[in-house]
């Protein structure tokens, strides 16, 4: 094979791969938007679907809430001690608590909460949808039936979003309390200064970015696995790309990580530039 032929073939393959990726992302975006529209539609919360929604919300949130909070508290104690001792050794103890709040509450908690919910709830939920399709419970060739979307997809998506937000909120509160106790002990004398420090960290811009980041991360981990599962059911997907190494869960995970990375980069740019 000549060099020109090799180059031509490589460029053709690259072009087709990029085109396929773009089409996949476009369909994912479309499916995600459709689920969001359904989530914002009051008719999706009729009594017929309410039981399924309540079940998904409870099953996706309650079992992980306590465990994740305890793990967060333990990690917070360790990290706070490390930062405090290190800062004291450099004579910068005044900045230690600010660093702890910024690192833990602003950066780590939303990300870890979203990833934990994804690994524990939404990715298995996506796998369940794929399994339902494999069992023939869903006929995706004729389009997604509204009852399937409202009865199976929407509750899992809303539950994932709800779970992510609840875990992130509770963990942030627990982390703040544990950080205060690890720094000042069981004394309220340092509370005014701590509250003031917290207020200094959470300026309006930082608070807005924190809220948006948490919401977008939770939306990502709630939507992408469902949309990936639905996309893998559809006849539009390229069967050549579906191999053992690129299973539905793996592709959903990669898409989700890409989006999480993008959101994290944008939030970092917004916070520190």
């Amino acid at each position: 094979m000549s060099a020109a032929g090799f180059t031509h073939r490589t460029l053709t393959l690259s072009g087709s791969a990029i085109r396929r990726i773009m089409v996949e992302w476009w369909h994912l975006l479309h499916l995600g938007a459709s689920i969001l529209v359904l989530a914002l539609s009051p008719s999706s919360y009729d009594r017929a679907y309410r039981n399924q929604l309540a079940q998904q919300i409870y099953l996706n949130t309650a079992p992980i809430l306590l465990g994740f909070t305890v793990v967060c508290a333990l990690v917070t104690v360790v990290l706070t001690r490390i930062v405090l001792v290190t800062a004291q050794s450099y004579g910068l103890s005044h900045y230690a608590l600010q660093v702890v709040i910024r690192v833990l509450v602003l950066e780590l908690i939303p990300l870890t909460a979203a990833l934990f919910v994804a690994l524990r709830c939404t990715i298995p939920d996506g796998a369940e949808l794929t399994a339902m399709h494999a069992n023939g419970q869903v006929d995706a060739d004729a389009g997604y039936p509204l009852a399937f979307l409202r009865g199976e997809v929407l509750p899992r998506t809303v539950a994932g979003l709800f779970s992510g937000l609840t875990v992130a909120a509770l963990s942030s509160v627990v982390v703040l309390i544990v950080t205060f106790i690890a720094s000042y002990g069981f004394s309220l004398s340092g509370l005014p200064g701590y509250v003031r420090l917290f207020g200094q960290v959470f300026s309006p811009a930082v608070s807005l970015i924190f809220a948006l980041k948490t919401l977008l991360l939770c939306l990502t981990v709630a939507l992408v696995p469902m949309a990936s599962a639905l996309f893998d059911m559809s006849p539009m997907r390229d069967t050549r790309s579906s191999t053992v190494r690129t299973s539905a869960e793996m592709r959903g995970l990669v898409r989700m990580f890409v989006l999480i990375l993008l959101i994290e980069i944008v939030s970092l740019v917004g916070n520190y530039y």
Binding site: N51, A54, Y58, L92, G136, T166, L170, R196, G199, F202
Partner: protein, 319 residues
């Protein structure tokens, strides 16, 4: 039944209630967090405005604290540029802490080597009138990092001076050399005397002088012993002097008696002289009478002489 179908989850008692509880819990968490952020940002505090005028706003950020004695009593609300080109730092001071600020309060903006600058308030006289709302004050600025080049230049100068001092031909080296010579002389013959007098010969002279002084003192001791015997002995000068003094005392007593007698004699003489004085006065009058009588007799004699046969020829015969 399909074997791949996942098993249905077991039914959950009071599912809808638990789900509602979770939603209420989440809502409470989110709303509580929002309220806490607002509280921490001071949204619910009563504040009064303080405007600080600064030359430079570098490092000053919205939300940073105004501290008094290390306690945060206010926070920067806004930073703007005034028409005069100076920086207006609008600070919200908590109403409950505003009494710490008085009309005589001083405000500083200090930049440390590490971290953001700090705005501090100092109040020397707490009895002064309270700072009014919207008061405008000039902030005094200090920059620690700006002082670093000056400090480094001074340190460099100091090190140069130290190098000059400690050089091989420097004063410190010369001093150490002198110290070495000094210690050598201290350890040598003569010791400290050689160091004090400058040469060994002089030190020897001092030693010789000391020895002679010691001999002299020995002689003086002998003389003192003899003097003691001669002065304080049984037949010494002092007992004799004592006896002499006793005798002198007796003589003085006798003299005192004699003087008393002389005193009486003098008093008698004084009386006699008083009498003589009176007699002298009487003699004056007597003399005057005698003189008058004599003049009368003289006149009478003169009268008789004029009379015959006693008349004399008073005519003077010229040759």
């Amino acid at each position: 039944m399909n074997l791949n179908q996942p098993p249905a989850p077991p039914p959950i008692a009071h599912l809808e209630f638990k789900a509602r509880l979770l939603m209420v819990f989440m809502l409470l968490l989110v709303c509580g967090s929002v309220l806490f952020v607002l509280y921490a940002r001071g949204a619910f505090d009563q504040t009064q405005r303080l405007v600080l005028m600064a030359e430079d706003s570098e490092g000053v950020a919205v939300g940073m604290d105004l501290t008094f004695s290390g306690f945060a009593i206010g926070r920067v609300h806004r930073i703007e540029l005034s028409e005069t080109g100076k920086v207006r730092i609008l600070v919200d001071v908590a109403a409950k802490d505003a009494h710490w600020l008085r009309t005589s309060s001083i405000f500083t903006l200090v930049r440390g080597v590490v971290g953001s600058p700090a705005i501090r308030a100092y109040t020397g006289v707490l009895d002064d009138p309270a700072l009014p709302d919207g008061a405008v004050r000039t902030v005094l600025q200090g920059d620690v990092s700006a002082e670093i080049p000056k400090v480094i230049a001074s340190v460099r100068e100091l090190v140069d001076n130290l190098n000059t001092l400690t050089a091989a031909n420097g004063t410190v080296s010369a001093s150490l050399h002198n110290l070495h010579t000094l210690t050598e002389r201290l350890n040598g013959p003569g010791g400290a005397l050689t160091v004090a007098l400058g040469s060994e010969q002089d030190a020897r002279k001092v030693v010789a002088t000391l020895e002679r002084t010691q001999a002299l003192l020995t002689k003086l001791d002998g003389i003192a012993a003899k003097t003691d015997t001669q002065v304080f002995g049984d037949k010494g000068v002092l007992p004799l002097a004592h006896e002499t003094v006793v005798q002198l005392n007796a003589m003085l007593g006798e003299s005192r008696e004699s003087l008393k007698k002389v005193d009486g004699i003098l008093r008698d003489a004084q009386a006699i002289s008083g009498n003589a004085k009176a007699a002298t006065a009487d003699l004056g009058a007597l003399r005057a009478d005698v003189e008058a009588n004599l003049r009368k007799i003289e006149g009478l004699v003169t009268e008789i002489n004029r009379k015959w046969p006693f008349a004399r020829d008073t005519e003077i015969q010229l040759p």
